[in-house]
């Protein structure tokens, strides 16, 4: 067990874990991070910090994680392979561990063409699965790629993302298995709106015995408006929002839509709690961190146990 790791501790105790997401500011602005830290403190077990999400330049994930840590939160460092080659990735892993960061989420990252630096060269030296394997080898074997030993291994709880809604469905579970084989300890999923398909995916995962080997946290994102729901459905790759959800948002007047979004989110969490093999929830309230406390409370997940 990794020292001072609330997330790992909570999951290993068999409790239903709660994580949230914090997007760093577009500036050298520690207060913005601290403000989000205050909002999330005591409401969740760990906080993911996104890494230049949607390929938009922001304060570094590593620095923001360090700030969260100093504020008493347990950060999850998100690292994308889009911007760093294997030298930089391994170096950042060591740096993160040295700063006391205890969780890492290894990702491919949104393509650079989507963000505000579309002229950037995409690195993609390793892919996310290879990266997971590299971190695991660093931690468990104490070596970097190529076998050279480290003076001290990074003690990290390794996470990966999974999208149960992307195609081809039959292959999605294979890919999950691959991530687990590579070394993922926990999985955070893409936002779940289509619970039927998610349950099917979970069933396939259970059939392969994968839920015994990894902690799965279901991802949820509260919808702010019907506009946002439609935008996500039409424009965000790998997003599956059923018509029923859109209808439900459409039926309520505009000023009540946020509330409805939160209700949908809370109901989703309640269903997730019932699904065998789901070990927690990952609340991604995009630029709406203040909603997290309310959602977690309404879902009956407060108070969070202290460690």
């Amino acid at each position: 067990m990794i020292e001072n790791n609330k997330l790992e501790q909570r999951l290993k105790e068999g409790a239903f874990a709660v994580t949230a997401e914090c997007g760093p500011p577009k500036g050298a602005d520690p207060e913005a991070v601290m403000k989000k830290a205050e909002m999330l403190k005591g409401k969740v077990d760990a906080v993911n910090v996104t890494d230049n999400q949607t390929a938009i330049v922001r304060l570094s994930s590593l620095a923001a994680c360090s700030l969260l840590k100093s504020a008493g939160l347990d950060p999850v460092l998100q690292v994308v392979v889009r911007d760093r080659n294997r030298i930089a990735l391994q170096s950042d892993i060591l740096g993160a561990a040295a700063l006391g960061i205890r969780n890492v989420l290894c990702l491919s990252g949104d393509h650079q063409g989507f963000g505000n630096q579309p002229e950037a060269a995409g690195v993609f030296d390793l892919d996310s699965i290879q990266f997971i394997q590299v971190v695991k080898t660093m931690r468990d074997e104490g070596t970097i790629l190529g076998g050279e030993p480290l003076s001290k291994s990074p003690d990290l709880f390794i996470g990966a993302a999974a999208n149960p809604f992307a195609d081809p469905l039959s292959f999605r579970v294979v890919r999950l298995a691959k991530k687990i084989r590579a070394g993922a300890d926990f999985i955070q999923t893409q936002c779940i709106y289509n619970l039927d398909r998610f349950e099917k995916w979970m069933e396939m995962a259970r059939d392969r015995g994968l839920t015994e080997k990894v902690f799965i946290l279901g991802g949820v994102t509260p919808l702010k408006s019907v506009g946002m729901a439609k935008y996500m459905r039409n424009k965000v790759a790998g997003m599956d929002i059923p018509d029923a959800v859109i209808d439900r948002m459409e039926k309520v007047p505009k000023e009540k839509q946020r509330e409805e979004g939160i209700n949908i989110c809370v109901e989703t969490i309640q269903r997730l709690k019932e699904i065998e093999g789901v070990h927690g929830v990952h609340v991604m309230a995009i630029e709406w961190e203040e909603a997290v406390g309310e959602i977690v409370e309404k879902a009956g997940l407060l108070p969070r146990p202290r460690s």
């Binding site: 491919s108 993609f124 030296d125 394997q133 999208n163 992307a166 691959k178």
Partner: protein
């Protein structure tokens, strides 16, 4: 084949502006196949540039010649007899052709008329697609004949990513997801379980070793 596209005429005119006697040199190989720098395109460009010069009242000589291959010295050398008449060469070769001419005639400025794009295939008339990066260590047998480096937008060797939907790449709706194709191919061969293994990181030293790569074949040398 190596594919290329002609630069905008305006850009070409700017680059050739300082010169008075210009040889427009085409290439009859790859860039002819992709209709960028073959004999026809070379003729068209030269003709257009001559007209432009006349309209500007400029007294310049613009002549054209298309070599069979601009990237092979044996062909480049055919410029020997006339090269002295010119004070610049506008090349419609790929980047390799341009450099081969520059190497042979280092005292004459050489100007690229094309933007060299990629190693690709002629899918149908007028449609070329990129499908190889020249990585120096081909893995196509493993991936069902589909190159994940050239054709997956994120160069995943353990794909697909979480954005693959309906067989379309999340990065570009005009592009099929390479990984969807890989999976379908391997399914055909009943070899899908191959993908359960983690494919190890790529050895990029075979592509970007120390400086430009070289192939030496003693049996082919004189």
């Amino acid at each position: 084949m190596i594919t290329a596209e002609q630069k905008p005429i305006e850009e070409i005119r700017e680059m050739i502006a300082p010169y008075k006697r210009i040889l427009v040199a085409g290439c009859g190989s790859c860039v002819a196949e992709c209709a960028a720098g073959g004999e026809k395109e070379t003729g068209m460009l030269a003709s257009t540039l001559r007209m432009a010069a006349k309209m500007d009242g400029k007294d310049v000589v613009i002549q054209e010649k298309t070599l069979d291959r601009q990237c092979v010295n044996e062909f480049v050398i055919q410029l020997d007899e006339s090269i002295d008449q010119y004070d610049a060469v506008l090349s419609l070769g790929c980047g390799a052709g341009v450099q081969a001419v520059a190497e042979m005639y280092p005292e004459i400025p050489i100007i690229p008329a094309l933007d060299t794009e990629f190693l690709g295939e002629t899918m149908s008339q007028g449609l070329w697609i990129e499908n190889c990066l020249g990585c120096g260590d081909c893995m196509l047998h493993y991936f069902g004949g589909v190159c994940p480096l050239a054709r997956c937008s994120k160069q995943l060797l353990n794909g697909p990513c979480g954005g693959s939907m309906d067989g379309i790449c999340e990065v570009n709706p005009e592009v099929p997801c390479a990984w969807q194709t890989i999976i379908e191919r391997l399914e055909n061969f009943k070899a899908l379980e191959r993908l359960e293994e983690v494919y190890p990181p790529k050895d990029w030293s075979k592509k970007q070793g120390r400086g430009p790569r070289k192939i030496i074949r003693e049996d082919q040398q004189r």
